[in-house]
């Protein structure tokens, strides 16, 4: 090429941030469990280490599955279709986890979210790298890392705000008191449920456009 191309920076940055919403969702999903833990554990009456371990790490099992799905399908189906799929799974998982009535359903939906996390964490940098101009590629791929950090921050803020919403729960409650409180019954559901909004935005921005 003779002349240095004049890039449409707005378009390139817009695509990057739209794709990096996948990183935001990853970050949110990765840490939301930590803030919800003190509330869903009494609700589902989790007492053993194994039960509690499943609660926090069922999503990680899904992450491995998500990465393996990308080995098999990302070259065949393309990046966009899998990004759409992960957006759909993020939304499904957020809704399902928020409405779960059994610990089994809770873990099943967390695992579905994990598949979306495992896929997104890998697909977003792959995608950005493949559309980015060479001299900006490192910066644009790193934007995904920035969005992961913002997602983590968002989950921490949402968890804090929701837990503050319950003014009746005393500072050091018993397990029984947590179970019967608003936080134990509904609060933790909103922590997971809040993710539906960014997940749906991510899904539609991925679907939109050729």
């Amino acid at each position: 090429m003779n002349n240095k191309p004049k890039f449409n920076q707005r378009y390139i940055w817009m695509i990057t941030f739209a794709a990096a919403m996948g990183g935001f969702l990853f970050g949110y999903d990765f840490v939301v469990i930590g803030g919800a833990k003190p509330f869903y554990e009494p609700f589902f009456d989790l007492v053993t280490v194994t039960q509690r371990g499943w609660g926090t790490s069922s999503a990680i099992v899904g992450c491995i599955v998500g990465a393996i799905i990308c080995i098999l399908l990302s070259d065949t189906l393309g990046r966009k279709r899998l990004l759409i799929l992960s957006g759909f799974l993020f939304a499904l998982s957020a809704m399902g986890t928020a409405l779960a009535e059994s610990f089994f359903a809770f873990n099943a939906f967390r695992m579905i979210g994990g598949v979306a996390m495992g896929a997104a964490l890998n697909l977003v940098p792959m995608y950005i790298s493949e559309i980015a101009p060479a001299e900006k590629r490192g910066i644009l791929v790193t934007i995904n890392q920035l969005m992961i950090m913002i997602g983590i921050l968002a989950a921490q803020v949402v968890n804090l705000l929701i837990s503050k919403f319950d003014t009746e729960l005393i500072a050091s409650p018993t397990t029984q008191m947590i179970r019967e409180s608003w936080s134990g019954q509904l609060g933790w559901r909103w922590m997971f449920g809040a993710e539906v909004i960014p997940a749906i935005i991510f899904f539609f921005t991925d679907v939109h456009g050729s």
Partner: protein
Amino acid sequence: MVPESVRWLVKNGQETKAYKILKKMGGEEYAAFEVKNIRQTISTEHVAHVNFKELLNSKILKLIALGVFLAFLQQWSGINVVIYYASDIFQAAGFNLQEMMVQIVAIGLVMFLSVFVTIFTVEKLGRRKILLLATFLMAVVYGLIGGGFYTGNTGTTVVVLMLVNVMLYSLSLAPLFWVVLSEIYPNRIRGAAMSIGATAHWLANFLLTFSFPAIKETIGWANNFWLYGLICLTGFFVLFRFLPETKGKTLEDIERELAG
């Protein structure tokens, strides 16, 4: 909003679509140049066909080994342990609960701010320099942290050193693992090859999280940090020998260099 990846489109025989997207990004000349350049890396038999046997090609196997090594280095350089077990570590260093909560928030803040250092330096210094400098310094700092625990000089010094390593990790291995992984594989099989690195990253994460309590119990805090120091130092030497610089090059130039 999110068009399909132009490189996947060309690989899949949809050059017209790729051209349109590239034209919107950088004009006609850029689009024509890019499509032609990408097309050159994909032989006729590879268009619209995925051949997983490609992964066994010796040059690609070497690049996959590099990706898997980076994945294990990223996970086993010890920062995940600092994050997951922050409260245990700070307790062992002699802090109470309230002080610990402040330090955990400090970890989050340091990680967030470090990403900006990467954004401002990754295209100037390059991936290689940042990774080499950070892994080397991390090894030194882990040596000091281990020394602190060994001699009983814990307290604030250990917390500060820990935050230094969180910063070094967050501006190097954390983002650059993904940057390098997304750059070193050829167009025709990038999806599968990169995803193998991502799978290795989860496997390494899983192994670390499960083995850490047992390792710490067996060898103690000081040796534990020295072990991470040793891992970082190994990482430094391996990357010094095998990590190519990918800064500023097109994915196609990188491919010709590494897998051509």
